[in-house]
């Protein structure tokens, strides 16, 4: 993990007279600040099609950061993050369409709802000691139940879903701008930056340290007095709340949400794949993974729209992007289980130590 890289640097320069090395979280905050600053002019430089890809990358990024907090740091392998994504999306869409509430308020409400549901699911799962595969299946079951219930509930428009009402001009308060406006990217950037900052804060907070200790050895952590249940619940709540932000923003950006888009299992899978490809249990893994997974579908779409000679039979077919990330997922799990970022970080710290 990233902490080892910092520690080894400390060892190699024990008597450095310059400023003491940054604490890991401050170094990570600095990196985050640089990344965000570098990203700010992107929508002005990129052509509009790539601008949409950049926004999608940021949505994936928020989802993956959310998943990573629970399943990477916390080691509670969730297969149902679509539940929290969907709750965020539906809470904000419902409040906006039915009651005219600002999407910002809706987003906050969605976070609260998702955190509460995550804690309820978590409480019962931990209370009945569901582990590993059983926990994964339980989270999956809850996400599917939410999908089925929304599909057949007229209160939330059933299978039709919600269309965000269009307004004239642009409004920050309504989170709505002309199509292709850079404002969408900047809002997503703020949200994604906030999500990463939260995950850095969490990782280095007492709660985060407890949770990692509980993940590594629950019995040992409990026997030295770590309040296991409380910290696990805090972790799932935070994870659910962050994922809900992605859902609420998704609704505003694409102006449409339905049960399949919100609660479908592909949402959970996207969150998992993104975090795993980048690196489970690392701060930057979800960032790396989001850039790869988020841009893949665009690359394959262009490839299939005008395929080279030998692929011409695939013209107009779908599925290639998922195939590519499925292959990548399998290869990464088999060959570099710490993900792209985790493996690179290990390599670098190893070289420093030598």
């Amino acid at each position: 993990m990233t902490d080892t890289a910092v520690e080894s640097r400390r060892q190699t320069r024990p008597g450095a007279p310059a400023a003491p090395p940054l604490r890991p979280q401050n170094r990570q905050f600095a990196v985050l600040a640089v990344l965000v600053l570098l990203a700010i002019p992107l929508p002005l430089i990129l052509p509009s099609a790539q601008g949409a890809v950049a926004v999608r990358i940021l949505i994936f990024l928020i989802m993956a950061v959310g998943w990573n907090i629970m399943s990477g740091f916390g080691g509670m392998f969730s297969f149902g993050h679509a539940a929290y994504f969907g709750l965020g999306a539906y809470t904000s869409a419902y409040l906006l369409v039915e009651h005219g509430v600002s999407p910002w308020v809706g987003m906050a409400a969605g976070m609260v709802v998702a955190a509460a549901v995550a804690m309820v699911i978590g409480y019962f799962s931990f209370r009945y000691d569901l582990k590993g595969a059983y926990f994964a299946l339980a989270t999956f079951a809850f996400a599917e139940m939410l999908r089925l219930v929304t599909t057949s509930s007229d209160v939330v428009n059933g299978a039709v879903g919600y269309q965000v009402p269009l307004i004239q001009g642009s409004s920050v308060w309504q989170m709505q701008f002309p199509a292709g406006s850079p404002a969408y990217f900047w809002i997503a950037l703020v949200l994604a930056g906030g999500a990463v900052a939260l995950s850095i804060l969490f990782r280095h907070s007492p709660a985060g340290r407890y949770v990692v200790a509980i993940r590594d050895d629950e019995l040992a952590a409990a026997s030295v007095g770590a309040p296991v249940m409380r910290h696990k619940l805090l972790t799932v709540a935070l994870s659910g709340a962050i994922t809900a932000v992605a859902g609420a923003f998704y609704t505003q950006y694409y102006l449409f949400i339905d049960p399949q888009l919100a609660f479908g299992s592909s949402v959970s899978i996207e969150a998992i794949v993104t975090a795993v490809i980048g690196g489970i249990g690392t701060i930057w893994g979800p960032v790396v993974g989001a850039v790869i997974v988020g841009s893949l579908s665009d690359v394959t779409a262009t490839l299939l729209a005008t395929p080279p000679e030998f692929l011409s039979f695939l013209q107009g077919r779908s599925g290639l992007d998922v195939i590519l990330y499925a292959v990548m997922l399998i290869l990464i799990v088999r060959l570099m289980p710490k993900g792209i970022f985790g493996t690179l970080a290990d390599k670098i710290s190893e070289r420093r130590r030598r």
């Binding site: 009945y128 590993g132 299946l137 599917e144 077919r317």
Partner: protein, 331 residues
């Protein structure tokens, strides 16, 4: 439960354990009876409920059939095979292709799908799951998840999303005490029961079955007495996949063949596996029947809700209250 391939050693199966299983079966039976009675009151029509029960049981046989391979793999290898539904879809496409190309009877395509899926199972286990990279539970989940995405989208890419249908030559509709039943459904049910019995017999009465049970109950111990554990793991995975091949040939006249058809069956198959107790082949068959019933009764209880909702409610209750399954014992 004599059929379990989990940790029940024969000598611990004292009469009291058999009694406990009988008692539990009684409780389950009573619950089913109450559920049917409530449905009867709710709908007020005997024939509607009877039709639901018959349809539910027959569909449930199919679920049990699909879940058998999954439960076998879980019981022996501790692998939650998320790709099982995708393997089923692959087998369905093979079956469909063979019928299209040769005009063979759909059920006879089993002669192709079973060996083909067995081979796929060997390749998947040797190539992806065995060895250190497939060691932890998370990695196995992720690898089988990746595999299912790969297979489903591969089918989508090459064959498109349009549903394909295979008709059963000489399809008939039978009358079972007033309920109408398609012949293909009845045959699939009979096939499921036959396959369940064959698998059970294989596990209990052949050398391979004994080795599989030995590995399931104690891997290192089995290794010590000279069983090649890795080989048994590969064979078990392949047999589990071959079960999906058999299920595909039996079910192909009943369903529209699409690349994503595995998804819905994967969900029910997991529910069935947990309900029947992971690793319990006969439990899977019984669990399948129960889930088929639950599905049908849900549509009577909750008008307008998806039949899957009841399945998930049962699933969550079982996960929380009896994670070892209805017929398993807590270890």
């Amino acid at each position: 439960m004599t059929a379990t391939i989990d940790t029940d050693a024969p000598e611990t199966r004292a009469p009291s354990a058999t009694l406990a299983v009988l008692k539990r079966a009684g409780v389950v039976g009573a619950l089913v009876a109450v559920a049917i009675a409530v449905a009867l009151v709710q709908s007020g029509s005997g024939i509607v409920v009877w039709q639901s029960v018959v349809t539910g049981l027959l569909t449930g046989g199919l679920y049990g059939l699909i879940a058998m391979g999954l439960t076998l793999i879980f019981g022996v290898l501790d692998i939650v095979n998320f790709a099982h539904g995708a393997l089923l879809a692959v087998a369905m496409f093979i079956s469909f292709g063979v019928v299209q190309a040769t005009g063979l009877h759909p059920y006879l395509t089993m002669l192709v799908t079973v060996p083909a899926l067995f081979l796929v199972g060997v390749l998947v286990h040797r190539g992806l799951l065995s060895g250190s990279g497939g060691a932890t539970l998370e990695n196995q989940l992720l690898i089988t998840l990746g595999l299912s995405l790969l297979l489903e989208n591969g089918l989508l890419l090459f064959f498109g999303a349009e549903p394909k249908n295979v008709g059963l030559p000489g399809e008939t509709h039978l009358d079972v005490f007033g309920a109408v039943v398609a012949g293909s459904r009845l045959y699939a049910f009979a096939g499921a029961v036959a396959l369940g019995l064959a698998l059970y017999w294989m596990l209990q009465h052949t050398g391979l079955g004994t080795a599989i049970r030995a590995v399931a109950s104690n891997g290192p111990g089995a290794e010590l007495v000279g069983i090649n554990v890795r080989r048994i793991h590969t064979l078990t995975f392949a047999i589990g996949a071959a079960c999906a091949g058999a299920a595909a040939a039996l079910a192909v006249p009943l369903l529209s063949v699409t690349p994503t058809l595995g998804e819905q069956f994967n969900i029910t198959a997991f529910v069935v596996v947990v309900l029947g107790g992971m690793g319990n082949v006969v439990g899977a068959l019984v669990g399948g029947l129960l889930i088929g019933l639950v599905e049908q009764l849900t549509t009577i209880y909750l008008d307008g809700q998806s039949s899957l909702l009841g399945v998930f409610v049962v699933f969550v209750l079982v996960l929380f209250l009896r994670p070892q399954g209805l017929f398993g014992r807590r270890t």
